[in-house]
Amino acid sequence: MDGNRQDQNKTILRVKGINKAFGSIQVLFGIDFDVRPGEVHALLGENGAGKSTLVKILSGYLQPTSGTIDVAGRSIELTDSSVGEDQGIVLIHQEFNLAEQLTVEENIFLGREAFRSCFLDKRLMQARSRELLQELQCDIDPDTRVQDLSVSDKQMVEIAKAISRDARVLIMDEPTAVLTTKEVKVLFRLINELKRTGVGIVYISHKLDEIEAIADRVTILRDGHHITTDRTDNLKPDDMARLMVGRGLNDMFPERPPLGGDADVVLKVDNLSVPGHVMDASLELHKGEVLGFAGLIGAGRTALMEAIVGLRERSGGKIFRHGQEACIRSLGDASDLRMAYLTKDRKGCGLLMQMQLRPNLTLLALDQYGRYLIDEERESKALSKAIEEFDIRVGDVSATAGTLSGGNQQKLLLAKIMQIDPEVIIIDEPTRGIDVGTKHQIYMFINELTRQGKSLILISSEMQEIIGLCDRVVVMRSGFVTGTLSGDEIEEHEIMRYATGLKGVERDDRISA
């Protein structure tokens, strides 16, 4: 404790009482947070806990509604991300901020190009880039175009770019989400290197093992509140998990009666492959069942489901509906077989953000609304019904989908796919980035659907969701199905063992993407 007090004088970055509201919705409540030189301070929390909002405030991308920010003991206002960078606070985004068409060197010096008289000093920038990359023990040629780099190399370039800006605080938002195990090791070595040079690192993740391995201190957020800040040594993974979730799982998930063993198989997939993503995956889905798909990001779950509903090319495998082989070559074929897919990419693939709710709702099932001309009156009725049924909270029905909150968008998307009255519903990360209240509602919808005899496949990266909702769980890893769990086997550690390759079919051959 004494050590802590001494260190407090040395913080590089400290925020106090940060509140943040978007419109009427408050997402951060009086957060205190600080970073010291040469430490890794992990920021832990569920999706939607406010981690991303907090780091955007730390780096100047967002401004807090109230609260103070001190950099090296001086109070400042981060009015812009460039102000943050000038202060040595650099955020490495989840989606990289690199210009794909430019070279590594051009990216590193983007906006801070070196000049000799009025021309670019190419030679100096080349040499400096090479030096930086060498420091990171990374053998990328500065002349390579960023678009030709692997994901981990892109991350290295981001880090090199940050260091070239003399970063004092480096904020990494889920840096390992896109990395392989080997690449994670390289990243961790690099982080240790940076620590030695006195850089403070804010590390966001919800992988507890990583936090244990790399973090000196942990701050846990839940629903926008600061829960605790402590040394990593003082917290066991179980404590962290409990503090993150903060409530018994029973409160969140509806009670479900166990599924009878003799329910019909409504969907069966045999040895389906998607080039570069999935190898020989099989599954069986019973009537009224919720079948979970667990695994790390990039395990091939989404690719498998998109291939099943005809959104992706597949290179082999058979699909059966009610025991009959089905020919699904497009999403339209899947719809005709009463199968629906709810995308995880709400903004990119789910809804037309600039368009009103009505055309969004009926887009998938438009042929039901008139043979030649669209019956707009019937559409409006359908919208009123959907708004009520799915509790979509919208002030003005002529509003565009983009003006809805994430949770209401998700409910609209759910209403949209339900328009075709599907029997098999595949939902991909249905609660990503939405608030706890809406999450609970979506769980209730899922339960209600199975009660009506619909069958669901649920892809989720949130372990509690998989455990709380699913009758059986299929685990995937690197494109392979590694195990299927049911009953008491559905438990976090067991799932992680299959997901990380400690257990299950031993396949070391990663499918090259």
Binding site: S330, L331, G332, C349, G350, L352, M355, L363, L366, L373
Partner: protein, 334 residues
């Protein structure tokens, strides 16, 4: 018309909505200006003349509204018009011998022109969608191809319709039913059909969806490639209809036929409030845009205050102002 009234009243209730009815205001301003410049402007003869002249660009622009709403662009329409006109003249001149001087020859020529327009649009659409090449590049290519083909067929000069056929064909441009010239009638029919298809059918809704976000369209079981190709086919058919009423006007086609029509058509679409990057389109706006472009030239003809040579300058300024006004509204909404 009721729709117009409704949109006007909603616009009044909120603050001034340029986006919805700016084009009509601009048209009204132009009419007032024209009348002030020369009272002959509002004469029935002048009005009819103007509408007739705006029919070519107008019909092509209705097709362009579909292409642009679905997120595409077609630069080849001017060249395509010249090409179709040239081929049509060659066909009719050739058929003279077998089918004789009469409507049969002309109707065959017209039918074939529609077939060529259909095929040319299909080529633009298929190369864009199957070849995964940007529409700008594809249609820039076909624009050059059609232009040079018509020059080649005309041997660098002019292709002229046989005089005997021209006498019979002439009324299609110069005559009228119930006081409405045929070109205006054709324009009106194409515009109404375009309005219904774009706003009331599944195909139209799919155009909006694709232009807004192709991924969302794909994930909504829309056959994206099919719909996009169809927009180019519609565009091709519109070009052939425009050509059918254009040929009897001069009875000839040359390398300079339809030059810059593609830009005038796109300008009409944009003035009308359709979003260039897709996702939002408006047929009646396009109609107003096409009429405005012709009206500007007409007003400059009727006045000595500004040289007729500055036609392009005024048109250009109006296009930019139109888009500025529409965007001003976007920003306020946010």
């Amino acid at each position: 018309m009721t729709e117009l009234v409704r949109s006007m009243t909603t616009a009044m209730r909120f603050d001034f909505d340029f986006k919805t009815y700016g084009p009509f205001l601009a048209l009204l301003a132009l009419i007032i200006l024209g009348t002030l410049v020369n009272p002959a402007f509002v004469s029935e003869a002048n009005m009819t003349n103007m509408l007739t002249r705006s029919a070519f660009i107008g019909i092509i622009a209705v097709g362009a509204t579909f292409v642009i709403t679905a997120g595409g662009i077609d630069l080849s329409v001017g060249s395509m018009a010249a090409f179709i006109a040239g081929i049509m003249i060659i066909i009719m001149n050739t058929l003279l011998g077998t089918l004789g001087v009469g409507w049969l020859t002309i109707l065959t020529g017209m039918a074939l022109s529609v077939v060529i327009g259909f095929a040319a649009g299909m080529i633009n659409g298929l190369v864009t969608t199957r070849g995964k090449i940007e529409a700008f590049i594809v249609t820039l290519g076909t624009m050059g191809i059609y232009r040079s083909l018509v020059t080649y067929f005309a041997d660098g000069g002019t292709l002229s319709l046989d005089f005997s056929i021209r006498e019979i064909y002439r009324p299609i441009y110069y005559d009228a039913v119930l006081g409405i010239p045929y070109p205006v009638l054709a324009f009106a029919l194409v515009a109404v059909a375009g309005y219904v298809v774009l706003n009331k059918t599944r195909f139209g809704r799919h155009c909006f969806a694709i232009g807004s976000n192709e991924h969302v369209a794909k994930y909504s079981a829309i056959h994206v490639n099919r719909v996009k190709t169809l927009t180019y086919v519609l565009q091709g058919i519109c070009v052939s209809i425009a050509t059918i009423i254009y040929v009897p006007r001069l009875g000839s086609a040359s390398a300079s036929t339809g030059v810059l029509w593609e830009l005038e058509a796109i300008a009409a679409v944009i003035i009308g409030g359709t979003v260039l990057k897709g996702g939002y389109g408006r047929i009646w706006g396009t109609v107003v845009g096409a009429i405005m472009l012709t009206m500007i030239g007409n007003i400059l003809n009727l006045t000595d205050a500004i040289s007729n040579y500055l036609n392009g300058t005024v048109q250009g300024a109006i296009i930019i102002v139109a888009v500025l006004l529409q965007r001003g509204n976007w920003r306020r909404k946010k």
